[in-house]
């Protein structure tokens, strides 16, 4: 963390947690300030995070579609996915993320948005994943989602970035896209991503982060914070293996202070309490889990000391 003032960064971490604990989101002075959702709406009070490049806020937990929404033409399973989306929206969620790599997931999201009439609720997030014609892939992606314009498009795993990133910037400049991002996963190609973050005006990056995979804490997250890049977190549960491994283990005593009811919620609170993190995107096949995940974006958040405790406990148990 040589390029950054680590003390200042960690101090802001504590400040974020304190704000969460006191329930006074939105009063922070940094550009990553939290805000509480409009009480006048029928949505639960969900912690909002700020997208640094515009100041727009989005709910602090999103919905991934990796594996879980790739159900093909199976109508029964498509309806189950729509139920998950319904529970997600009803709990105050907005960001849904997908990729052309995820098989039928984009079609299934489009099906769900149609079934729920939720095109105006979603913060649509997808990717371009090709070393060929990115523009035609994006067109196909739009047709699958049945949306005219995406909120965010990302270069998936930096594939074809020399062609695809300029394409996304051109779309943004032309008003066809609101935000531009780049993704990686599993901690790979972090150095390449950092180089892109330093040299391009990215709105978002997407990386793998959870209490076990913490490499991004050292440099990438502080860099994102410093450069005003919003951060989406993929694999928050390590593809579901973390809650599976922790099943049956009692929650630590200190978790009571946070009001969490599950390991999944504890992990999500760990993630969203990081000041550089904008939105983890856990995937699920169960509406109840979607609601449980969204509930993690309410109430108190852990401070830096408790974050370390969470990582330590989970590190020992898994």
């Amino acid at each position: 963390m040589s390029d950054f003032d680590r003390r200042k960064f960690l101090k802001s971490t504590g400040a974020v947690a304190a704000l969460g604990g006191l329930g006074v989101f939105g009063l922070g002075t940094n550009r990553h300030a939290f805000a509480q959702s409009d009480a006048a709406t029928d949505q639960p009070e969900v912690i909002q995070k700020t997208i640094p490049s515009t100041g727009e806020t989005i709910p602090a937990v999103g919905l991934g579609s990796w594996i879980t929404f790739n159900v093909g033409n199976d109508i029964e399973l498509r309806k189950q996915c729509a139920d998950v989306m319904s529970a997600f929206f009803r709990s105050g969620g907005r960001m849904i993320d997908s990729s052309p790599m995820y098989g039928s997931a984009q079609d299934v999201i489009g099906y769900g948005l149609d079934a729920l009439g939720a095109h105006n609720k979603v913060f649509s997030t997808d990717k371009v994943w090709t070393s060929g014609d990115g523009a035609s892939q994006i067109k196909e992606t739009s047709e699958r989602w049945k949306v005219q314009q995406f909120d965010l498009l990302q270069v998936h795993n930096l594939l074809g970035i020399n062609e695809n990133l300029p394409l996304l910037f051109r779309m943004k400049d032309a008003g066809q896209l609101r935000y531009v991002g780049v993704t990686t996963s599993h901690g790979r190609r972090t150095e390449d991503l950092i180089a892109v973050m330093k040299n391009e005006r990215l709105d978002f990056v997407q990386v793998t982060y959870n209490p076990v995979d913490r490499k991004v804490e050292d440099y990438l997250l502080p860099l994102a914070y410093d450069r005003g890049i919003a951060v989406i977190i993929n694999r928050p549960f390590r593809g579901g293996s973390l809650p599976e491994r922790l099943k049956g283990e009692p929650l630590p005593e200190f978790a009571r202070e946070l009001g969490v009811k599950s390991w999944a919620q504890l992990i999500l609170k760990y993630l969203i309490s990081h000041p550089a993190v904008t939105c983890p995107i856990p995937a699920t096949t169960k509406p109840a889990h979607a609601m449980e995940n969204m509930a993690a974006a309410t109430g108190a958040l852990p401070d830096e000391k408790m974050r370390e405790q969470i990582a330590a406990v989970i590190g020992v148990l898994v």
Partner: protein, 238 residues
């Protein structure tokens, strides 16, 4: 900066076992008559292939061409393709296999099915029997519903596995041409099943290994290189 070889096998598998096995349930219940017919075709073909002599050779090849065509269109294209982006790249292999069976059926090429009683024949019999009889029940052992049974002639894994057995039950210089596609499918499927933590992955790999071993054994023993006599071709029952 990023290239395709950066991806691991687990990165490219983007569906869950729950969704994968639902494919068979939907296909079995929607197309049950075709699925049963394809299985019966496999049983008839195996009965013909296990007889002494070479009678019914053409019928076996036609039946195998039909089940591969149905498996490619019915299972791969209709059901598997929407959840697996790699299927369009594998479908030409299935089409090639159908064409090969059709060519062998249409022309008097030196390829004949029949029981020889050697080691490869027993291995071939085991593979065919496993694909036709045992494979549908593998799911039961792993706790799945019988409606999700993978049946020869419709599901790709038992069809490829059984085809390896049929090839081992044949003789002739051109039989190797029928091996690459089912062998390749078994290897790919083994990888897929392994990533999904399915024990049956090992069966697919063992099938590949024994087929290659028996192919080598037969080559050494002259089963594949020994040309059929004019008498054998003229009198399939001999």
């Amino acid at each position: 900066m990023s290239e395709w070889w950066d991806y691991g096998l687990a990165d490219l598998l983007l569906f869950s076992p729950r969704v994968y096995y639902r494919l068979f349930e939907i296909m079995n219940t929607t197309w049950w008559l075709v699925v049963v017919s394809a299985l019966v075709a496999g049983v008839i073909a195996s009965g013909l292939a296990l007889r002494h002599g070479f009678r019914g050779n053409r019928v076996i090849l036609v039946l195998l061409a039909l089940v591969w065509a149905w498996c490619g269109y019915g299972f791969l294209w209709q059901y598997y393709r929407p959840i697996n982006w790699a299927i369009p790249y594998l479908l030409p292999g299935f089409a090639l296999q159908v064409v090969l069976f059709a060519i062998f059926a249409a022309r008097p090429l030196p390829l004949r099915f029949g029981w020889r009683g050697d080691f490869s024949s027993y291995v071939g019999l085991t593979l065919v029997a496993f694909a036709l009889i045992a494979f549908p029940f593998v799911g039961l052992i792993e706790g799945r519903d019988l409606l999700q049974a993978e049946l020869f002639g419709s599901a790709a894994d038992p069809t490829a596995l059984g085809t390896l057995g049929f090839v081992l039950l044949s003789r002739g210089t051109w039989r190797w041409a029928l091996l690459p596609v089912p062998l390749l499918w078994c290897v790919i499927s083994a990888g897929t099943l392994w990533v999904m933590d399915q024990q049956v992955a090992f069966v697919m790999l063992v099938a590949v290994w024994v087929t290659v071993f028996c192919g080598w054994l037969d080559l050494k023993n002259g089963v594949t290189t020994k040309r059929l006599t004019e008498a054998e071709i003229k009198d399939p029952a001999s």
